[in-house]
């Protein structure tokens, strides 16, 4: 990233006759400061001069890595839904709990909406977000033109970010294990490990993701 634009300049300096000199500018999403959008080398970071927000942090091969990680996480999520999550034993009784079971825990009567919300926050929204990321970035990774409505898919993925709570759920599981400990013996099942792994993979993928780089690449590939 070059420099922030000096305050002496006005819009006539910034905009030539074609009107698209604006494409060479980039504004900080947090504080609105203008910067000249020069190429940032892979592995380097460009920060906003005023507020310090990381504007661009491109990485070599990031697209491919993100697609592979997101795909792996999505597959693990599907596996985690159906396999037994926790196995409970107490006084000769035995019970297997799955993720679906936790979602349906609220399903009788007036608690139904909460059941839907837990299902959305823990499974549906994280899965939708992962698939939207694969849909947007897979063609980029192969060097193809963006898929139809890729922009909409990526906006959706970014919008879902705060609402995809798989990692909060896994901490909730840990707390629940401690609460049950005195009452029964609990053994984590296959789905528990799948879920924990997908949380780690999702976090790793998000550190590779540079939102502004993705948007710039989308725009470049979309251009004829």
């Amino acid at each position: 990233m070059g420099d922030s634009v000096p305050s002496g300049s006005d819009r006539n300096d910034l905009q030539d006759s074609t009107g698209d000199a604006l494409a060479s500018l980039i504004a900080c999403p947090v504080c609105d400061t203008l910067h000249r959008d020069s190429e940032v080398p892979d592995g380097a970071q460009a920060r906003c001069h005023r507020c310090g927000t990381v504007l661009l942090a491109p990485r070599a091969g990031a697209m491919t890595q993100i697609v592979l990680l997101a795909l792996t996480a999505a597959i693990l999520m599907v596996a985690a839904i159906f396999f037994p999550f926790l196995d409970l034993q107490a006084g000769g009784q035995h019970r297997e709990g799955s993720v679906i079971g936790a979602i349906l825990a609220f399903s009788d009567g007036w608690m139904m909406p909460l059941s839907l919300a837990v299902g959305a926050l823990v499974v549906l929204l994280p899965l939708t977000r992962l698939l939207a990321i694969v849909y947007t970035l897979a063609p980029m990774a192969f060097g193809w033109r963006p898929a139809p409505h890729a922009e909409r898919a990526f906006r959706l993925a970014e919008g879902l970010r705060p609402w995809a709570m798989a990692e909060v759920f896994i901490v909730g599981v840990a707390v629940a294990l401690v609460k049950i400990a005195g009452l029964a013996t609990v053994t984590p099942g296959f789905a528990f490990w799948a879920f924990a792994l997908l949380v780690l993979i999702t976090a790793l993928k998000d550190t590779f993701m540079c939102r502004l780089s993705v948007w710039k690449t989308l725009e470049r590939r979309r251009a004829p």
Partner: protein
């Protein structure tokens, strides 16, 4: 830059008569309705931002009241039913010697929600009255609020897991209480409140001083 909260001589998109996309950083002539790069709706400043922040914040605070007064968890062991509020659950964990977990739940269900109410109200108020705290400090606060809000959902998930798992007829059964729903709503409303806040407003308050 460290002290004033602004780089000397930096120009904002608004001051240049432009409108920037907060999703992708693309800059457009003022009046452009949608971003050419990503298709997001554009607004130089979101005029309704503060109104929505306050509306969601009050909704979140209202929902937080029944969340603390009514039971979160109904536990029946050997035919005896016990009701636990959020705070009751924390004390119970503490009594059992699970200090770490008690602390996690206390932070996620009490400290973070109340801290968020105060922080969001402070941010929204500080937009109007200048010179309260440096831009960097306020932005840091905003980032923390945005990051930490979702973690309050832990206790709701704990209740869901326990209710699903602990169904051992006579020995023990667990049912969710009313508070689970109102607490989940409170967290969601507060997250919406934080998302409605336009962080550019933090930095706008310095611009008047510069010129």
């Amino acid at each position: 830059m460290e002290d004033a909260g602004t780089a000397p001589g930096a120009l904002t998109a608004r001051a240049a008569g432009l409108v920037a996309c907060t999703q992708c950083g693309r800059v457009h002539p003022l009046g452009t309705p949608q971003c050419r790069r990503c298709g997001s709706d554009l607004a130089s400043r979101d005029d309704t931002s503060l109104q929505r922040v306050w509306a969601w914040l009050f909704a979140g605070m209202i929902a937080y009241v029944p969340a603390n007064l009514s039971p979160m968890l109904l536990t029946s062991t050997f035919g005896r039913t016990r009701e636990n509020t959020i705070i009751g659950g924390v004390f119970e964990l503490f009594d059992h010697g699970s200090y770490g977990v008690a602390l996690v739940i206390f932070l996620a269900s009490v400290v973070v929600p109340i801290g968020k109410f105060i922080a969001i109200a402070y941010l929204a108020l500080s937009v109007r009255s200048r010179g309260l705290a440096r831009g960097h400090a306020r932005q840091r606060l905003y980032e923390v609020v945005e990051f930490i809000g979702r973690w309050s959902m832990i206790d709701v998930f704990v209740v869901a897991i326990l209710s699903a798992l602990v169904q051992l007829d006579f020995i023990a059964t667990v049912k969710p209480g009313v508070a689970a729903a109102s607490f989940a709503l409170s967290v969601a409303f507060t997250m919406l409140s934080a998302q409605a806040f336009d962080p550019r407003l933090i930095w706008d308050s310095y611009e008047v001083e510069e010129t």
